[in-house]
């Protein structure tokens, strides 16, 4: 493994996603954001100027490597070639955090380029445990698993999502990347009681929180909330953050923004807003899990 490049990450840090159009401004500033999160699959090139640029960023900012393509919730084992590329990236950058999703995207040699829903069954749980074990052993470190934003209730589910995540944490030692925007979207789209869901999560394992904007598709009845990461964090999600952030006092927070990407200044202002909300949260009664 290469020597550690990345500066340490403070527990209450607030980071932003990394986009290539912001690279020069981020390099010019001393520490514009507390940390940067990058999508692993966008940085697996064998060479080129973007690779060198990322190494420079890694010297100045704590990094979080967020994978979207391992298909951990698939029936197949993780693709060895793709896992090798992830290991190379993680060894090269020494990020503070590495995360993936409770989702699948690969089957029979095809990649579907989305985070597809995993049926919550004992079989899925066993296969996810196997796949997370494979990845954690290859990386030699703990992986954080992100709760999904969902648009369908899968009729063959036999387990509750919070229980499913708790079992994953228990059986693999992985952490939880709690995306409050995803939790809000899924609760709306699936008719789930949000506070009951949040109270049942394994908060001790939460190693990072995600916040993002979403949209509302009113063309369907009932309307669906869409996780498009294309706008500021909604007041409803800020409210969740204020009520629940203190339950994970050691977890850094990331503001995601992947479509209609704003200026770096606007994004950093959203991160500053998160700091303000978190400070307010620390002064208010915490909705700790039962």
């Amino acid at each position: 493994m290469s020597p550690s490049l990345t500066p340490p990450l403070a527990p209450t840090a607030v980071g932003i996603g990394f986009k290539p159009q912001h690279a020069q401004a981020l390099l010019a500033a001393s520490r514009a954001a507390d940390f940067l999160e990058l999508h692993a699959e966008n940085h697996m090139a064998a060479g080129g100027p973007a690779r060198e640029e990322l190494l420079e960023l890694a010297k100045r900012y704590p990094l979080s490597v967020h994978g979207v393509g391992l298909s951990l919730g698939g029936a197949e084992r993780p693709d060895p070639a793709h896992l090798a590329r992830l290991v190379e990236l993680v060894n090269r950058l020494s990020p503070a955090l590495v995360s993936e999703h409770l989702a699948w995207s690969r089957l029979d040699g095809h990649c579907y380029n989305d985070l597809l829903p995993v049926p919550l069954t004992e079989e899925s749980l066993a296969l996810l445990v196997r796949n997370i074990d494979i990845v954690q052993q290859a990386l030699g470190r703990r992986l954080l698993i992100e709760n999904p934003s969902l648009y369908v209730t899968i009729p063959i589910n036999t387990l509750d999502e919070a229980d499913f995540l708790t079992e994953l944490v228990t059986r693999t030692g992985c952490g939880l990347l709690l995306d409050l925007n995803n939790a809000y979207i899924s609760a709306h789209n699936l008719g789930r009681d949000l506070d009951t869901y949040l109270a049942a999560l394994p908060w001790h394992a939460v190693g990072e929180m995600h916040l993002a904007g979403h949209s509302l598709d009113t063309a369907v009845e009932p309307p669906l909330r869409i996780d498009d990461h294309g706008s500021p964090v909604t007041e409803a999600v800020w409210s969740l953050y204020r009520r629940w952030a203190s339950a994970a006092p050691e977890a850094p927070t990331l503001i995601e923004w992947d479509t209609k990407v704003p200026t770096l200044e606007r994004w950093l202002a959203e991160a500053e807003l998160a700091r303000t909300h978190r400070a307010r949260a620390s002064r208010e009664p915490t909705r700790m899990p039962a």
């Binding site: 699959e41 966008n42 697996m44 090139a45 064998a46 060479g47 080129g48 100027p49 973007a50 979207v68 393509g69 391992l70 298909s71 698939g74 029936a75 197949e76 693709d79 070639a81 793709h82 590329r85 699948w104 995207s105 690969r106 089957l107 029979d108 040699g109 095809h110 990649c111 579907y112 380029n113 989305d114 597809l116 829903p117 049926p119 069954t121 079989e123 899925s124 296969l127 969902l150 648009y151 369908v152 209730t153 899968i154 009729p155 063959i156 789209n189 598709d217 369907v220 669906l224 869409i226």
Partner: protein, 265 residues
């Protein structure tokens, strides 16, 4: 087959269907159709956007609406084989070649191939370019094992797209007068930039010879090219490739998992 794999196959089949989930007696096990539409749209739209990002000049030539329709058709039948979207679309130029409405505009595929080469070269592994001065050093330079740098590609175009390419690069409106005529181009990464340069047939022949015969001696490659073209032309071709920074010594070339050349059928 596991129950999970069986369910995921049916879910995947529903995503690849043109619209709503297939109406069979087990369709309800996949969830609410409106929700399924969100996943289907996410997959399709993200692939269209990946192609638009990879092929901006092709999109300019086709227009945004036709490009989106063609990219959507391509995406439905050509899902990615791996999650790195920067690799997606390797066969898009061939796909455009087969579209009947583009029968009179086949130069678009050439532009598409040039864009693909630029993208691949931009991500390829680095290797130091062979300096011409190295050929003056002992031992005999003819015994050097020379190969194209990984960050290079040859593209065979069927149309003289040079002027069109320059207009597109400058952001100017494309012109329709593109004449047939085979041209070889080399894409070479130098520093942070990828340069696309038309090269003569002898230079393309030497490049191709070196690429197809890894481990062969430079002298043998030059002799093979000199046989039909003459020693002077072969020597000039070597000078062109060295000047472009397109070559490296074989032992200095790391392995690369990039696709090979972008050559029209």
């Amino acid at each position: 087959m596991s129950a999970l794999a069986e369910w995921q196959r049916r879910f995947a089949a529903a995503l690849r269907a043109l619209d709503a989930a297939p109406g069979n007696d087990r369709a309800a096990e996949l969830g609410r159709p409106a929700g399924l539409d969100v996943y289907r749209n996410n997959v399709r739209q993200s692939l269209i956007e990946a192609l638009a990002s990879a092929f901006p000049h092709t999109r300019t030539l086709l227009g945004p609406r036709y490009f989106a329709a063609a990219a959507g058709d391509f995406a439905r039948d050509h899902l990615p084989e791996e999650p790195r979207l920067s690799r997606y679309g390797a066969g898009f130029a061939d796909f455009l070649d087969d579209l009947p409405p583009l029968a009179g505009h086949r130069y678009v595929s050439d532009v598409c191939r040039l864009e693909r080469a630029r993208l691949d070269v931009g991500h390829a592994v680095e290797a130091s370019a062979l300096d011409a001065a190295r050929l003056a050093e002992p031992p005999d330079p003819a015994r050097l094992c020379v190969t194209p740098r990984p960050a290079t590609r040859r593209v065979r175009c069927r149309f003289a797209v040079g002027a069109l390419w320059q207009r597109l690069e400058r952001g100017e409106a494309p012109v329709e007068s593109v004449v047939a005529g085979e041209e070889d181009w080399l894409a070479v990464r130098r520093g942070e930039r990828v340069l696309l340069t038309p090269v003569d047939a002898v230079t393309a022949s030497l490049y191709r010879r070196l690429r197809e015969h890894p481990g062969a001696h430079l002298g043998d490659a030059l002799a093979a090219v000199a046989e039909p073209h003459g020693e002077t032309a072969a020597g000039e071709a070597l000078g062109t490739l060295l000047g472009l920074g397109a070559l490296c010594e074989r032992h200095a070339a790391p392995s690369d998992d990039e696709p090979d050349e972008e050559t029209a059928p």
